[in-house]
Symmetry: D2
Subunit: 352 residues, 4 copies
């Protein structure tokens, strides 16, 4: 595989920092340009960022000059990752796509756009076919691909094998989401120390909608959404990394037993195996039998944070099946999924 020069939009934010962290030593992608707000443009990255990653800010990054998020300035790149705030992402991402620079975005703005893939490669890699419908440039050289919300990625991965086998009829779930999901400065310490916030603004509608697109089928150039209701309660708890989901599901065809459902999860093979993508976990879904597992602090980082954990799979008194799902919210659930998306697109030849 050739190497690609990449830009990062929103490079000083929490997601941008995670992109920088995860791309250190990446075999294909080299960070060439860092974009942030006009206010920061022209400054040295190391002097501007409040670095919160638990690794050193690399000197080579610290010494780069921040640029404004404009395609005419950030023009030495093969594509960009976007960690932009939703307040500005719509126009900036569009401007890059129109300039022929692909945008691999973690922002929510284009997730529900008809021709934009909402991509979790292990689940719906074929949705990249939607790119052919995009109109940003005549030759499809510029396009946008998004990854889902940090809850919806592990949720969809855990539900995918069950949905394919039994057909999901409905979901009732409660999330216990980590503080890092709120960005930085994000959730006030006073709100979350020895406390729970019973509500996360804007989160539940995403959980109700995104899985339906991810688990939908691409037919004739459109995604036909899966069709089941999700009743989600989203809470914030005092954990740092790893969203834990308590999920109860009813199916169109009821599994014969919890053991059978577990076997379906355990037997799910990564459809990416032959592609040899650098960030793809060997085992995307891991099933625990110990009822004390999975735990956010112990299991979020398995396979570099890219593996999703499933535990406590059991027959439910109401509906059909209950289980716990855990995913690293800022790796698997955000920047790491974006990078995997870009790896898939690179392998498939989408970055000319």
């Amino acid at each position: 595989m050739r190497t690609f020069n990449v830009g990062i939009l929103g490079a000083t934010g929490a997601v941008g920092q995670k992109f920088i962290h995860l791309l250190q030593g990446h075999p294909w992608f080299h960070i060439a340009q860092l974009g942030a707000s006009e206010r920061s443009a022209g400054k040295r990255y190391g002097d501007t960022v409040t670095w919160i990653e638990p690794v050193d800010l690399p000197d080579a990054i610290a010494n780069q000059t921040i640029q404004s998020c404009r395609p005419e300035v950030m023009n030495e790149v093969d594509f960009v990752f976007s960690g932009l705030d939703s307040g500005v992402a719509t126009e900036i991402e569009q401007s890059f796509a129109e300039a022929g620079i692909p945008v691999i975005s973690n922002a929510k703005n284009y997730r529900q756009h008809d021709s934009v893939p909402l991509l979790v490669p292990e689940v719906n890699a074929d949705h990249i076919g939607l790119i052919a419908q995009q109109k940003f440039t005549d030759d499809h050289s510029g396009f946008i691909v998004t990854n889902p919300n940090c809850v919806c990625i592990p949720l969809s991965m855990a539900l995918a094998p069950l949905h394919r086998r039994y057909g999901i009829a409905s979901v009732v779930m409660t999330t216990l989401q980590a503080i890092s999901g709120g960005g930085y400065p994000g959730v006030p310490g006073m709100d979350i120390t020895a406390n729970i916030m019973p509500y996360i603004d804007g989160e539940e509608p995403k959980i109700g909608l995104e899985p339906l697109k991810i688990l939908g089928e691409l037919k004739n150039g459109t995604v036909q959404f899966a069709d089941f209701p999700v009743e989600a309660t989203a809470t914030r708890v005092p954990t740092v990394e790893g969203h834990l989901l308590s999920v109860t599901v009813s199916f169109e065809e009821k599994p014969a037993s919890a053991d059978e459902a577990k076997k379906v999860i355990r037997d799910w093979q990564s459809p990416l195996e032959d592609l040899d993508l650098p960030s793809a976990p060997k085992q995307p879904l891991r099933l625990y039998e110990n009822p004390r597992f999975p735990q956010p602090r112990l299991h979020s980082y398995q396979e570099g944070g890219m593996q999703v954990s499933v535990g406590r799979v059991r027959e439910a008194e109401v509906m059909d099946l209950s289980m716990m799902v855990l995913g690293h919210n800022t790796v698997r659930g955000a920047a790491g999924c974006s990078i995997l998306n870009a790896e898939l697109l690179a392998r498939k030849g989408y970055f000319s």
Copy 2:
């Protein structure tokens, strides 16, 4: 009301300490005797206990000599509160009841006994009629009354008005339970700091069963259990006090709207109002409209920890209604409920 001399069984444990704390300055109940294990008997309480309550250990208590939990020794009391471990509660509580000393117990051992009330006074005060069925003594002078599990008390209080009005058909719920529920030393710091335990041993079966007895109807000397399944996932989170419950309910008769259901909750009057019980909250159930409420740290202590909070009442995508319920687990959900039970019994003349 006359005053009563009370004993505390299991006085050195976490529940026993909470009894001592809550009974300071109680207008009716005076702590006369403290019972603990044979190993502690004969020692000064203040020298034996690892006091963990956030108030001073009163000198008058510290200077008492611990006694063994035998009715022939603890015979200067009108009744006893039991904070005994379940491993020893069965025999000890029986011995007191047989000796004619009523036992107001927080232990789980007799909760499902046919003739033992599982009592939350605001919900099923009439269940004290079961006492007449008990056989511990010929004259019913000795008896056992229990309070439910720390999750089931606030849960039953929140469900009671809805059940009476609409008839509950099924419940799917996830608990976010505080560390204090595990006693002392209880949950290891390493398990629960910036972490979640996705499982609490033995908790989910209680949540599936106890509400059915509490919400059951006393007819002809037996409780006819309510009949609905509860699918519960019980988790431990890093909060200190206050169990938060994420509850989704379907009803036999669907509420016309969330607003109607809220009105039912808001209009629920304490059936204890005329009894003037010292520990009864003026408003046992409080409804919050702010979606950020209730929070364990801010709202658990309302009305001295005896009020249960309800928030985020909303129509559900799946089933009928979702809501958050919060109750102080060691006050409302344990020792405080026991004390209220005793106050009800005292008022009704059960302590001769």
Copy 3:
């Protein structure tokens, strides 16, 4: 004692909320007016504030209309409490004092002004004599009185009896400060969950200076500062309320033993006893012998948060004496001290 109408400057902030909370049911002081920024003026308090106190926002307060912090508007008060941010406190507090309205301030702006008392009533009540030097109004009807920083109040209280008896020569100390000290939203959850911030901006210089004024002597209309260096390291830790201080002291005259020093602390009587001030703790300083005490969660709230705890008093290998000091940072260390200051001034007839 007559009652006084009081105003609160900065009423929507964290300190302002604590004033409102603590003044509920106060026998002398009645909240008459609430002042906040021009942006909030004219709005209903309950619609504007993000209420973070662990008690209900009283309806009577929620329904008040916020006013701007100008003396010509807030003119129905006998005096004001100030919880203003330091960015605006200088001018606003001056304007009230010049208008003849006494300002009892928690802000830092006037703490080091020559004629402004830096007041901890148990330690330096006589410093109110400084008010006679103030020039805000000709008749001294308008004046400013401040309370110290949240670390310096408990620190000065613990050091006062030792300083009087042995003369402090130097102090080396490390603080473990609670999150609430940073206000709201204040310290980001990501910075402080399972983490320590090894630095609090601007804190250490205050700790080096304020105790010297508090422990100074008023002579001829000026405070002659105590004269000893303080080497302070200020850290933020994941506690909610209660600043814990690890303090090592050398004295001009070395105590004969730790026991002797403990007796000096234990024998210290509140100099306020005869004044019968509503917020004065019966025992301002409490000595613990159990080396596991004091703990922020268990002991910060003793005597309504107004008592300071001292523990682990022992002879030091280096310097003379080591000890732990704990004070509730937002009650004793902020709003509660302001209220006690006002009570002292009311008793002494300063509010005409």
Copy 4:
């Protein structure tokens, strides 16, 4: 380097688990035998341990049969690591040494034994010369080497360059220690959630003594201890990994400035550089200029947890110099240091 078969004494405990974790993939050391209590002997490791490391328990380890900690049973090893509890370490470690099996111990029992090195390789590698004084076997084939307490390792590393250059006269320090230092189950969640324990039993005497041996000089077969008093206050705070130390030092010769002292720290070269030890950090001591650094959550894991961080170096108002020191308590401060000790000994040919 040849490979060595190693045994782990106390393999099911927290330190034993960390040994197993850190030795995965070690180029020289292969885990051959796992020793634990007689009660566990004969059982499969994976069925017995409560695994708390944040990585998978390797299958090859899980399937091993636990053996009793007796040298006649654990006789297929070249040496053993000891993570034994101090209650049993004295006799067991002696029995292995007498059987000719070197013991690289994290237990405290032999740390102050005259002929036992208390080893931090970057500081006092030459102390391995003490082994020649040991009498466990005639040919010195069996011996004991210990590593210091989890506070004393990073403390000694940070003090070493300053001590060599300026001569330490005295130290006043406060520790903010992580929960993992208490083992498992260890510190109760109720004690440490949103709370601080102001005392750690037995910790302060170690901090007062161990650095003096580590920084001492080996002369004529004995360590001549460094001679300065350490006044330590040891606290437990709600962090998971990384002990943070607030340290103030006076020197025999005062540094010209904080900058000069910083240069001494920064210029300190690892004396292990030429030895090419697998676990040796490239930069054992790292100096931060940002006053917000070091933080336990962000910086404990630098260089795999083997690097010690120093920050906030500044001239002190009292004594001479203040600074913050951070070290990973279970890696650098325990098992990781033991492994580095073994690597040094292997390189020097001590494992025949």
